[in-house]
Every structure is written in C-alpha cells, then in structure tokens.
Assembly symmetry: D2
Homo-oligomer: 239 residues x 4
C-alpha cells in the first residue's frame, strides 16, 4: 500500500537562534510534525529544509509529493523564486498544500492568494481558543466544538486573504482579537489549507488537536489521481 | 427625490415585559432604528409590528418597500406563515432584508437560509468586540478596524448557517467565544445581511457604529430596479 | 466492511404513464441507479418510492442512510411535509443528498436552498454537452473535460439557486442555452450535490459518465462520523 | 461633481498589425470604450497605452484612478513588472479593476488570481450567447436574460481561475463550448470584474449590451472612500 506522501518543509533556522526553541522542538518543528503524521499508517511523511540542496524540493521529489506542509518565518526571502515557481505549478497540477502559521507571508502562499496576506500580531503569551465553524468537515474530524492553546502568538483581523472557499476555524485571543485560523481554497487542481497556530516558542505542534487537524488536512488535501487539463486551441465539439 | 424606503419590523412585545427595556427604548427598538435611519436624508424609514393588521406587512406595503429590517425574539411562532411567504417572495423579487440579533431564529431567516440557524448563547454581560474582516466593503464604510460594545448577550459558534457569500464582521466575547456577526447572502434577486448585536436589555441600537452599519446596509441591500426573471418553457435561441 | 449506504428515492410514477419510459427503465429510474451504484463494491444501494409506507423513508431507515439520491417530477406535492422535515433534519445532521434533474423542484431541495429553484426548460431533443469546470474535483474523477448526451430535455439559466459553494459542471444545449448542471452546497453537516441530467424519456442513467458522476458523488457526500453539534446556553470558556 | 475616474488601458498594438482592426476601431479599442463610458455623465474616462511613458500608469495617475479597465493580448510580457506591482498595490488599496477578454493572460490578472488563468480558444466566427446567472446584480442592470454576439472568438472551459465570488454571466458558443464570461472577486479592498467578450477582429465593443455591462461594472467597482488597513504589531484591546 502506497499511502499518502507528505513532505514537511521548514526553513529550519529556529533551532540555531534560540535555546528555548531547541528544547521544545529538539528535532525541529518539521521533526515534530513528521512524527505526528507518522502515527497515521496511511501517511508516509518526510522533511525538507531550506539548507538542503534545492531547498529539499527538487522536481523529482515534488512530483512524488501528494501534500506539502510549509512552515517559514524569518527566511521567506531566502527561498529561491525558481523553487517557488516549481511548487506553484505542482499545486495547480493537484498537489495539496498546508501552510502553517507565519507561512502566511511565504512567497508561495502570497502567490497563490493574490493578496498581501498581511495581519496584526503580538507576542504576549495570549491564550487562544479555536472554534469550529464547519462541524462535520473532514479537517475537524475528531475535534469537539473548540480547543484551547494556553499560550500563543496573537494574529488578528483584518487578515488580507481572498474570501475563503470555507472558513473552518476562528480563533479568540485573550487580548481581544479574532482571526480566521483555518481556511480552505482550491487553486487549479490543488487544495490549500491555511492553519494559523504554531509560533516557534510554544509547544503548539505537540498539542493533540493541532496534530489531529494537520493529519486530517493531509487526507483532505491529497489529490485524486486526475489527468492534467488541456488548454489552448481546440476544434468544435458540434461541427 | 424618492429615496430608499426602509421598513423596520419589530415583534414589539419587549416593552410590555420589562420596565428596563422601556427605559432604554421608550419608543421600542423599532423606534430607535427608525430614528437612526431617518438621519440619512436619502432613506425614508417607517415601522411595523406584529400587532398591526397583517403584522404591518400587507402586500401593498411590501411592494413599496426597498429594504425590510427584522427584529424578533419571543414571538417568532406568532408570525403567520402566509405573511412569511409574502416576505419570502418579495426578497426573491429583489427587496433587501436585514435580520438583526435574535431574528436569526425567525421563520423568514430560517426559510431563506435552509438551515437551523442555531447557535450558542449566554446572557452574562459579556463585553463584545466586533472586528471588520472586509475593509472597504460598503457595509463597514466609516468603521475603523473594530468597535466595542461594553455589554451584550453572547452568541457563539457554531452558527448553523450556509457558508456566507461574504463574512463582514466577526465578534469576540469576553467569556471566550467568537461569532460571525455580519454575513451577507443573495437569494433570488434579494440581498440579505445578518447583523448580530442588539439584545433588548442593552442600549446597542443607540451605539453610533451599530447605527452606521445598519444605515450602510440599507444602502447596500436596496435593489437595482430589475425586471422580474422569466422561468418555464422557452423556445430555442438558435433554431 | 460496512460500506456506504446509499438510498435511491424515486416517486416511481413514470413507468405507469408511458410505455416508452418502461422500455428504457424496465426496473424504474431507481432500479437503473441502484444497479449502477452496486457495481462499486464499497457502496450498498437500495431503492425507495413514494408508494412505499412512509414513502420508504421511515426514521429508522434514514438514520441508517449515508447518502440519499432523489428523483421526482410529477408528484412533488404528494411527498408529505412530515417526511420532508425528517429528511431535512437528517441532512443537517450529516446525511449526504444528491438531487437529480427535476428534483430541483422537490420540497426538500427548495427547503435546503431557500430559493424558488425555478429555471427555463424545453422538451425538444436538444443535444447536451456537459463541461467540467473543476478538474481534479472528486465528483468528476475519471471524466475528461466534457461529455455529450445525444438527446435531453433543456434546462436553461437563470437557475434560481444560491451562489453555489462549487460549480462543478456547466451544460451547453443545442438550442442555445447554458445551465449550471453540477453544483455543491453544505447545509449543517450535510453535503448536497445537484446534478441536472436525467429526463425520464431518455436513457441518460445508462450513460457511463452519468453513472460515474453519481457514484463519485455518493463517495463525496458520505458523512465523516461527526458527533452532533451542541447549541443553546453555555457557560464561559474563560471565566 | 467629481464623478468616477475610469482609465482604459490598451496595449494598443492591434491597429498597426491589421487594417481590418483599424477599420472597426479607428481610435483603438481604448478609444471605443472611452467613448462608451463618456456617455455616462457620472464617469470621466481617459485612455492609456503601453507606449506611453510608464505605460501611461505613473503613480500620480493611478492614485487618481477609481477604476482601471485592462485590454491586452500580444504584449503581456512587454508590461514592466514594476508597473504591474504598482497596479497590484492600488487594487489591494481599493482601486477597481475590469479585465477584458485576452487580458485573462495579463500579468496583473494572473497575479491577483494566483492561478494560470488558462483556457481553450478558437478563432472560427462562433456565435456567442451570453446568459445572465445573477439577475438583479448591478453589473447586469438593464440586460434582459441573455444577449447574442453574432461572431466572436471562442473561449472554453476549463477556465483556470479560483472559484468566483459571483458568476454573473455564462457564455454559449455555436461550436459546443461554455465559458464563465462574467465573474467577480475582491482582493484586498479592490473589486475585480473579468468580462470575456472583445476579440479585436469583431465590433464587440460597439455592442450596446457590452457597453452597458462595462459601464455598470465601472459603477460597481468604484471604491468607497475607505482608509487604508493597518497591519503589524498591535497592543491588547482588552488589557
């Protein structure tokens, strides 16, 4: 059984910059997510980082990837345009994409959205409550109506994204803000899920509900095996 | 100049039941909203209540109404089905509809949504912060990025409505909940705006931003003068 | 292995009225669809008709149904409101619903849409070409970019439905009309797919692509096993 | 009275390449559209072309533009990235954008959509019938349920765009294809309308209904005078 091939991409610069982060994620944020996904026997998860050759995203590997998970923060500009272009084309051709937290400002997410993807933020140990706004949606399967993250970075509206196809989760922050924390889009044949939580100084990716949502989203975003669309000149159907 | 004809409907039973409500809204919730709308010289606002003949909504009056504003709470079941049916057909034919607060459970809103329109609630003097999620939208013209209501009834997600055409405002409540507080839909040729705030024991409809949003929404929901759609049998365009 | 439980409902009055229809569908339209679905080993399909006790839709059976397929035409009014109400609540609770052809005017579809669901039509042996507008969507898995039905009843725009969550297929008719022939909605926890083709005087439900789409839609609409949403009063999350 | 400032941009290379085009549009496609818009006294329309300094789109002029209309075909690549970036930021800040016909492949449209915007096409004098799918929408004000263009280039589905906010018009072509010919989006505070017809070898922009739709769309896309959104760090609302 082949299973879904998930590739977890992380710029991977956090552990160098902060001993606290290394304590929380000794194998990196990507390592924690790969571990979580690997508990689902129908998913085969690997990691890639910015420092790998071609950022760990050569064409041959992307062609074999069903769902790409993206975490980046300080190094968005260091991702080469040629690789962004390659990921972009793979998404349009059907690869799923899950963009996490500060990945909202990644080149690939901004390119697929067509907006600035800007937002308000604050690092002040806010409490975050995430509410499900689409019960029954496969991405929130197994989640009750809400869950709580004791400490997180605040992201606040307005979040400059296109009107989502579906708004799955909305966050409440103790400082008084709200945020559309789980939103879906289709672009070409690819399915995209943006999921807000995951600041690097908190153990968010060890939280059971966060792991469950990312795992569910991998299943949701995995492509049906569609053939590529044909565009350009075509003769009449009805002569 | 004719102006936009707005009709503010209120079941109108609150003032009998509670001296406090009568103090806040001496002329009723409908009176307060009519007063607010009347400050816009391009709007001509009137009121109607449940106890009026035909609930104040005879065919001749509905035919002359551009936008109907609806507030109800305890008496949803007392609204006759025949009148609901009449309002429903007027909305499909182009009349705008603004549904306020507990009107989420009115017969007309449930009929137009096709869902239960259920939600969570709590009367506990929560503070409410309303955040704009579509800056630039005409309904939030003149509103900065958020505004605060010191005390309101809490409404919490999941709010069982169809995926909105547009999510304009999201509320934060001090007890930890969020709510899609301003949402738009088209049904037939009619535009619908649901706007959450307005529990009868608080002076919400005297708040400048709440009044501004309702006034903007009246402009937004007013119909273009379209001719009715023709349905049924039709011959070929291309013989 | 349990499989997906699909129930194909047909008013079932066609075969009495027309010898030609009985020739095309000797076991009824429902029989043809049950046969087609039964070729997928992961689906267990049964039929129900208007004349069965409780229209074949008693609570115990609906509770066991994952996806209901609905075909009706001349007898919409004969479907009892109490049964419509039961189906409606099951859809909000997560049961999938596939509405076929003239089912656009069924009580259940109009109730879930909140619009008139009216359209233009013509019985004149038009040729119909159905074009895929969302390649990669699971409902059109295995369909190339279009397929042709040599003869069908024409349905033309404007089709008075809410803006669809997704527009999957658009039809071309030889007389010069177009129609949104495959559209999806969520209502509560239920997924709804409207699929246009299927006039009773044509062998449409024997067409391989039509069968494929209905089969795909059964998989798409089958519910995740979500627990029911809780509404009403709730205490603070954050005291 | 200031009026709406509309700027009609055309790459403007057609007249050099084809005597027939110069006969149909002696003052260019942009000239024909400026003339049509100028019949509405509330619109002040001007033109700009690729060969003007800064493509006729210097910052000072864009800042004064309410709605930009874009026609391009052979010279998409000749539009400088710096100018595309400038237009992009103005759209997010609230300027309306109307993209015509082969402008689907312009840099600015692809950037705002986040997809390839590819499609099928054929130059074979197809007849085109455009059907209204949202009666009552201001963009189709004054249009009956359909109109016919005797000869046009065919554009066929799949059109690789995000799921539109609204699908306003769908086209039928005599060769057997369909196309979503009028679709709307919001990006940031800007409103976008894509409108299909307008191949340079046909007198499409002299057609009364085409002119009416472009004029309506200018009104629809003109911005409310919103203040810019503030993003980035912010302190607590609720201390």
């Amino acid at each position: 059984m082949a299973g879904i091939k998930a590739l977890v991409w992380n710029e991977g610069r956090q552990k160098n910059s902060d001993a606290n982060i290394e304590r929380i994620y000794p194998r990196g944020i990507h390592g924690a997510i790969v571990d979580a996904l690997s508990r689902d026997v129908s998913i085969r998860a690997e990691a890639a980082t910015l420092e790998d050759p071609e950022h760990g995203l050569p064409p041959s590997r992307l062609d074999q990837t069903d769902v790409l998970i993206w975490w980046g923060h300080q190094a968005h500009d260091a991702v080469r345009d040629e690789v962004v272009d390659r990921v972009y084309k793979r998404v349009l051709a059907g690869m799923g994409l899950i963009v996490l937290h500060s990945g909202h400002f990644s080149k690939i997410f901004k390119r697929l959205m067509g907006t600035s993807c800007d937002l308000k933020w604050r690092e002040a140990h806010d409490r975050e409550v995430l509410w499900v706004t689409t019960p029954g949606h496969p991405i929130v399967h197994g989640i009750t109506d809400h869950f709580v993250l004791e400490h997180e970075e605040m992201y606040g509206e307005h979040f400059d994204i296109p009107e989502p196809d579906e708004t799955i989760l909305i966050s409440w922050f103790s400082g008084g803000e709200v945020f559309r924390s789980g939103v879906t889009y289709r672009r070409g044949m690819g399915r995209i899920f943006y999921f807000r939580p995951g600041h690097e100084t908190y153990p968010t990716y060890h939280h059971a509900d966060v792991q469950k949502i990312i795992t569910n989203a991998v299943h949701w975003a995995a492509p049906a095996h569609a053939s590529p669309s044909k565009y350009g000149h075509r003769p009449e159907v009805i002569p």
